[in-house]
């Protein structure tokens, strides 16, 4: 392996996002935030949206950040990061890594316009979405990343719509780098952060982060559930470089979606006395479509 590849594949542990924060046990987002910033390194500015990450990591007077942290509102980290980036340009400072980051509610719903603007204007910013598939900070309400069939506190009968596919929407802005990742594969996630930060322009990384509280699974299953999300085809892992889907992670042994759904309380009602309902077949169809579309 040459030096560059070695550096890309090295798992970084710098604790720039320090322990002692207030996240729940098994929180996928806390793990992802640590991995993202350890991969990015000290020369990084974190522009964070209101939400779980902000709340559990930034109470005055004891934030968990060892890098500059900037937060103002729920829907604007992409625009705030754009401002930081142009300020660095105008003041002839830098280079610096700027990471705008938010949960799925901020990214897919209320902050969608700001993100589209940031992509279209071409700011040199990495946008990271921590996708836990609902508004967890406010008590598990549905977002437009909530998957079909999932219980949330505002879809008590199960969500009837499919997830908005933001990685593809992001790529269609013509940005140079898009990737998906989960928190079970540290090396892959950190490699993608490092790759993104080596590219000039707007970048988007979409990370699936299980939420034991909102998904209704024990905290020690966070990593396993990520693997199942990938192995069922429900969360395809790929990169889009300059508009071309590439580095698709192949599924070694395809797993039926039931395996992914069963350990999670939010899908419990999709099984009547252990027997899968029609919704499960519908979810299997979504997985199959992903498998076909991305050649998983």
């Amino acid at each position: 392996m040459n030096e560059k590849a070695e550096e890309l594949n090295r798992v970084e542990k710098k604790d720039l996002f320090a322990s002692g924060h207030r996240a729940c046990g098994g929180c996928g987002q806390a793990l992802a935030a640590r991995l993202v910033h350890d991969a990015a390194g000290e020369n990084t500015i974190a522009c964070v949206a209101t939400g779980c990450l902000e709340v559990f990591s930034s109470p005055y007077p004891d934030p968990s950040w060892r890098i500059p942290f900037l937060h103002s509102l729920f829907e604007n980290p992409a625009a705030v990061a754009s401002g930081v980036e142009v300020a660095y340009k105008a003041l002839k400072k830098g280079p610096v890594n700027i990471i705008a980051q938010a949960g799925d509610g901020s990214t897919a719903d209320i902050g969608f316009q700001c993100i589209s603007g940031m992509f279209e204007r071409g700011h040199n910013v990495l946008y990271v979405c921590y996708d836990n598939e609902a508004y967890m900070n406010t008590g598990v309400q549905r977002s437009s990343f909530t998957p079909y069939g999932a219980w949330t506190s505002t879809t008590p009968m199960g969500n009837k719509t499919r997830k908005k596919n933001l990685p593809l929407i992001a790529a269609d802005h013509g940005i140079p780098y898009v990737a998906t990742a989960t928190v079970d594969d540290f090396k892959d996630l950190q490699r993608k952060v490092k790759t993104a930060l080596s590219i000039e322009g707007p970048k988007y990384i979409h990370i699936l982060v299980p939420c034991p509280l909102g998904w209704g699974h024990p905290g020690d299953l966070t990593v396993k559930i990520c693997r199942l999300a990938k192995d069922t085809g429900l969360f395809p892992i790929f990169e889009i470089i300059d508009g071309k889907v590439t580095n698709v992670q192949k599924i070694p042994v395809k797993v039926p979606v039931e395996e992914y759904l069963k350990p999670q309380g939010r899908f419990r009602f999709l099984f009547k006395k252990g027997v899968p309902t029609e919704e499960v077949a519908e979810i299997q169809k979504i997985a199959n479509q992903n498998i076909e579309r991305f050649n998983l």
Binding site: P59, H71, L91, G117
Partner: protein
């Protein structure tokens, strides 16, 4: 140099002389000419700044928030719905103590849609912890921007320069645009207090639980009150450097001997002064108290100047629906309740949605309050357009 130019061009020219590093804006009438002119200035390389065309006013405010937090001198401008869309960020900017300067080209609020002038927009965010300065004419609008940066960067409070949409923004008047060197001598480079920089990692925008939140509001309120001193100093300093009075807290016109004191702000004071002169010729003593700094509110000054006036009339281009005159409420609050119960403070709402305020309207207003106090009246209201069904 004296130039015959549009108000918007004058503002753009002086903003450029203040050397902002980052400008971000979204177009809305009647603010558009200001940012168009600035984009030309940046585009021609006359100002070394980043000009960011964003997808909404919300993002414009967020971009300058981020840029200011990173240590840049910033500028944005908006009007009406744009300011309302920014409202969430507006509160954040002051809470985070970012010295951003914003021009509000004052315009009415929907619905119904109206692109024409009044001052309901900036009034909607009057409690947000921004200094609000109101310009009388285009010279003052230009001068206030130079002062605004100095005030903002000394107090770490954002400043909103309010100028009446169309009446000022689109009016051609002779305006003295200072030389770059004069502005550079007056306005030192921006020295930020806290910035996001990996060399000194710190958190900006942490959340405050109930143990800490209230103190942040108290400190902000005190900072607003204390900014009175800075506003006055900067205005005096400006007069010394540039040789003309501009801005400050309040101004008066023929008020000393006046039997009727009119209180107002913005461009309408020009019409009021003309009327005062006419009435003087007719033997009537009417004077003006003009408010330049609406926030912080010059309560003490107003009291000192008006304490012997028994007939005061407040004319304003805004309304608190369900309450009445906003400026009138502020003026009434400026006097101790127990003192001089027979003092009359009348309230007139005028010019909403761009309705002209004529000299005749103002004459009627003065004659009306000479007879009796007026709790609340809409000046120039067309009663024929309103049926009983509507009320």
């Amino acid at each position: 140099m004296l130039k015959q130019i549009e108000g918007s061009q004058a503002v753009a020219d002086v903003v450029a002389l203040c050397r902002p590093n980052v400008i971000s804006a979204y177009p809305i009438t009647p603010q558009t000419h200001i940012v168009e002119d600035l984009s030309v200035i940046v585009g021609q390389g006359k100002l070394d700044a980043e000009f960011v065309n964003v997808e909404s006013e919300f993002s414009a405010a967020s971009v300058v928030l981020g840029a200011s937090a990173a240590g840049a001198r910033t500028y944005t401008a908006t009007s009406s719905q744009g300011l309302l869309l920014m409202a969430e960020v507006i509160y954040c900017i002051s809470g985070m103590r970012l010295p951003i300067v914003l021009t509000c080209a004052n315009r009415a609020i929907s619905a119904p849609l109206s692109i024409w002038n009044d001052q309901q927009d900036s009034m909607a965010v009057r409690d947000a912890g921004w200094i609000q300065l109101f310009a009388e004419d285009n010279q003052e609008a230009a001068d206030l921007h130079i002062q605004a940066y100095k005030i903002a960067e000394q107090t770490f409070l954002p400043v909103m320069v309010c100028m009446d949409g169309f009446i000022l923004t689109h009016a051609f008047e002779p305006v003295d645009i200072p030389e770059q060197k004069q502005v550079d001598d007056f306005l030192p480079p921006f020295k930020p207090r806290h910035i996001v920089d990996p060399r000194w990692p710190r958190g900006i925008g942490l959340y405050a639980d109930p143990r800490f939140y209230m103190e942040t509001r108290y400190i902000l309120h005190r900072a607003m009150e204390k900014s009175e001193k800075t506003i006055k100093e900067v205005s005096a300093d400006f007069a010394k450097t540039f040789g003309r009075d501009s801005g400050g807290f309040i101004k008066t016109y023929k008020l000393k001997e006046a039997d009727v004191a009119i209180v107002s702000m913005g461009s309408v004071v020009g019409t009021i002064k003309d009327l005062i002169d006419q009435l003087e010729e007719e033997g009537k003593k009417v004077g003006l108290l003009q408010i330049c700094s609406y926030r912080p509110f010059p309560r003490q000054e107003i009291y000192n100047i008006l304490k012997d006036k028994m007939n005061i009339v407040v004319l304003e281009k805004c309304i608190s629906l369900g309450r009445g005159g906003i400026l009138a409420s502020d003026i009434r609050w400026s006097f101790p309740r127990a003192e001089k119960k027979d003092r009359n403070i009348s309230s007139f709402i005028a010019g909403l949605g761009g309705r002209n305020i004529t000299s005749d309207d103002l004459r009627y207003m003065v004659e009306r309050v000479e007879k009796e106090p007026v709790e609340l009246e809409f000046l120039g209201l067309k009663k024929e357009l309103i049926s009983d069904k509507d009320l």
